[in-house]
């Protein structure tokens, strides 16, 4: 935003005088916001504190006063949630603004502390030994409750992560890169169904108008987990997996169509990449060609065709960013 641009908008009569003056003051830095900087500090504080406290307890089990540290942790957790409940706004099915600058981070810290608390309780008393996977489910339920009640996208992501870990899927960037988030073959199918389930659930919730702005987060997780599941089936399986590859191409096509319908390019990215992988897989397995010229031409043709087609419908995505 430059003063010159504001002048143009003002002269064209698009900006009311009052707003024009206000925006000019911002452009000239007479008013200066540190909103982003302070939120980053809070975020880093929560991140460092919860990580540090988690490791500290893990390393010092048996050395520090157990009941004291457990008490401190529980008190901190309760404190966070108490603050959140005290400041909360009434529940709404649509998006709500956060009530207070600390609100989001207090909630986030509370939720992260819940995980540490539970781990600590298990260490001390071994209560959950036989219910380990149920503990993930419990965490997920807590997270989902707070995500919906307090309208918090970050906690929602944590909830989805916890739910996935209930099903045995360890989602984390590190695992994604190493392609080893499925140690067991049957987990491939779990991932595919989990992804599809998340996808369907999100669309259903959107239909009922419950926190429609959460849909994007759900779909992102669903699409990525599902496609990673089926893609790793293609490459980790020993036999030629035509059925899975064809399924993946179809799923990608449907996702692309959905993206087109929704006027957002986001899912088109996934649809293209995973569809391309599966389609190429079919071609490689079917032709077994080692002719490099053919493959280079194929690469060019596919990219050219795709760019051409998306350019012809680009008007549809005009308001997408």
């Amino acid at each position: 935003m430059t003063e010159k641009q504001l002048d143009v908008l003002y002269e064209k009569g698009l900006l009311p005088e009052a707003d024009y003056q206000k925006l000019r003051a911002i452009a000239q830095r007479k008013i200066f916001s540190v909103y982003g900087e302070l939120r980053t500090l809070l975020y880093l504080g929560v991140l460092l504190f919860s990580t540090g406290a988690g490791i500290f307890i893990y390393n010092n089990i048996g050395q520090i006063g157990h009941y004291l540290s457990l008490f401190v942790l529980l008190a901190a957790t309760v404190g966070c949630f108490w603050f959140v409940t005290k400041k909360q706004l009434p529940f709404s099915k649509s998006r709500t603004e956060s009530a207070n600058p600390y609100f989001d981070y207090s909630l986030l810290l509370g939720c992260l502390l819940v995980v540490i608390d539970l781990g600590y309780l298990q260490f001390l008393f071994g209560w959950f030994t036989n219910y380990v996977s149920w503990l993930s489910l419990f965490t997920a339920v807590v997270f989902f409750y707070f995500a919906y009640r307090q309208d918090h996208l970050g906690v929602l992501s944590l909830g989805i992560t916890a739910l996935a870990s209930f099903w045995g899927l360890a989602i984390s960037p590190a695992n994604f890169y190493a392609f080893n988030f499925f140690e067991q073959p049957q987990l491939h199918w779990v991932a595919v169904f989990f992804g599809a389930g998340i996808f369907a659930a999100a669309l259903l919730l959107e239909r009922f108008g419950i926190k429609a702005h959460f849909t994007k987060t759900y779909l992102n997780f669903g699409v990525l987990i599902g496609f990673f599941g089926s893609t790793s089936m293609l490459f980790n399986g020993s036999d030629e997996n035509y059925a899975v590859a064809i399924g993946q191409v179809l799923a990608a096509a449907i996702l692309g169509f959905y993206s087109y319908k929704k006027e957002t390019v986001l899912y088109m990215i996934y649809a293209y990449i995973f569809g391309f992988i599966a389609f190429t897989y079919i071609l490689v397995v079917a032709t077994k060609s080692e002719n490099l010229t053919f493959w280079m031409l194929y690469l060019m043709a596919v990219s050219f065709g795709f760019v051409k087609s998306i350019m012809t419908v680009r008007k549809r995505f005009k308001h997408d960013s």
Binding site: Q5, L9, L14, L23, R29, I31, F32, S33, V34, Y35, G36, L38, L41, L42, G45, L48, F49, S50, T51, G52, A53, I55, Y58, P101, Y102, L112, G119, Q122, F128, T129, N130, S133, L153, G154, S157, T161, S165, G168, A170, P173, E183, Q184, L187, T264, M268, I269, F276, L292, T293, L297, Y298, M300, A301, S303, F306, V307, M311, R314, F317, S321
Partner: protein, 387 residues
């Protein structure tokens, strides 16, 4: 200098601002922006479209260039360098004629895909000629990136060009004598302080408005290098690499006191200056630098309990944030804690992703690890959960 029509770029910027202001409510909802939109024929899509086109564009370009190399692979020998230059030029030609002039692509992702590949291929071809003259090679690459950064107003290439300049001096020092090696930190600091000033002065010029983003990138990277040039950790570790010495415990680098001081003073100065002059670049680089300074000191003077440091650092940051938020409850000297109109908050809209990427890892991993250990589940990992 600019590959794009300046009037069009200007009009596009105004239109995009108007769009944002309309979203935020400063411009009435039913105001007609068609006239503004029509003023620029440039095609400049949103971030997702840019990512998509960048990915697809990369596939396409590698196909095209790969095809050339496959066709001419026989009898290529040393001529691959010529072929590299040829394909680099061809790519730039396609970019200019087809995409920029005819199709009016402006930072669409496709532009970047073609441009970066062209630069990469040029750099590869040049390497074939200058294999044994690393410093000259790096300098040429820096010029190449800088020229492209100016012509196509590209931020990534701006950052790469600046980094290459730092690499150039480093390589020079590797080949140079001892005096030059020990002067390296100061050379880096002076050169990049110069770059910063250059960026700052140019920014104020009327003509520079098409490169504002790139000038900001240049300033950011320059401030980072000024800090890194004087940072004790960087000087010590890179210095012993350069001079091929292993520092024994108890040994220290020459002028250690100076670099310790710089490590402390520069971040504080950045933060002070940033707040005083309301310069966001100084504030952000200052925050980053402060974090790295803490790391530097903890690296050499650690109590062996990083988790305690992390916990305390977290508490301090939380305390600081709460203090500042309270302080700014009502604006002080025009500095406010509230979000303002037309602010660029991309980083915050990505917060949800950030949380799940950074903290989600902690949850999945930590919970399972601790629980499995306590519960005596053999094997651990994700597998134990599915029964």
């Amino acid at each position: 200098m600019l590959a794009f029509n300046k009037k069009h770029v200007e009009a596009l910027g105004t239109f995009k601002l108007a769009q944002q202001l309309q979203k935020e409510g400063q411009i009435v909802k039913d105001a007609n922006l068609l006239e503004l939109e029509a003023a620029s024929p440039l095609y400049s899509p949103g971030i997702f479209m840019r990512i998509l086109l960048f990915v697809v564009g990369n596939f396409g370009v590698s196909g095209a260039v790969g095809l050339l190399f496959v066709i001419f692979q026989n009898g290529l020998d040393n001529n691959w360098r010529v072929l590299a230059f040829f394909s680099g030029f061809a790519l730039l030609l396609v970019l200019e004629v087809v995409f920029i002039n005819k199709q009016k692509h402006y930072k669409t992702g496709l532009n970047e895909a073609i441009l970066y590949n062209a630069i990469g291929i040029f750099a590869g071809g040049m390497f074939g000629f200058l294999e044994n003259q690393t410093s000259i090679y790096i300098l040429l690459c820096a010029f190449l990136c800088a020229a492209a950064a100016i012509r196509y107003a590209d931020s990534v290439l701006t950052a790469i060009a600046a980094t290459l300049v730092a690499a150039f001096f480093f390589v020079l020092a590797m080949d140079g004598n001892a005096a030059f090696r020990s002067a390296l930190p100061f050379i880096i600091m002076i050169v990049f302080a110069g770059f910063y000033l250059f960026g700052k002065i140019i920014e104020a010029l009327e003509k520079a408005q098409y490169w504002l983003q790139q000038l900001n990138v240049l300033q950011t990277v320059s401030l980072l290098f000024v800090y890194l040039g004087g940072n004790y950790f960087v000087v010590r570790e890179l210095g012993s690499d350069l001079n091929n010495i292993e520092l024994q415990p108890g040994d220290d680098i020459p002028l250690a006191w100076l670099f310790y001081t710089l490590t402390v003073v520069i971040p504080l100065f950045y933060l002070f200056w940033g707040v005083k002059n309301r310069d966001r670049i100084f504030i952000w680089v200052g925050m980053l630098a402060a974090g790295f300074s803490v790391f530097t000191f903890k690296f050499y003077y650690s109590f062996g309990h990083p988790e305690v440091t992390i916990t305390i650092a977290g508490l301090l940051l939380l305390g600081l944030a709460v203090y500042l938020l309270n302080l700014l409850k009502s604006p002080k000297k025009g500095i406010t804690r509230e979000r303002l109109a037309a602010a660029n908050l991309d980083i915050l809209t990505a917060e949800g992703v950030l949380v799940s990427q950074t903290m989600g890892t902690a949850i999945g991993g930590q919970q399972q690890e601790t629980l499995f250990k306590g519960g005596g589940f053999g094997g651990g990992g994700a597998s134990g959960n599915v029964d």
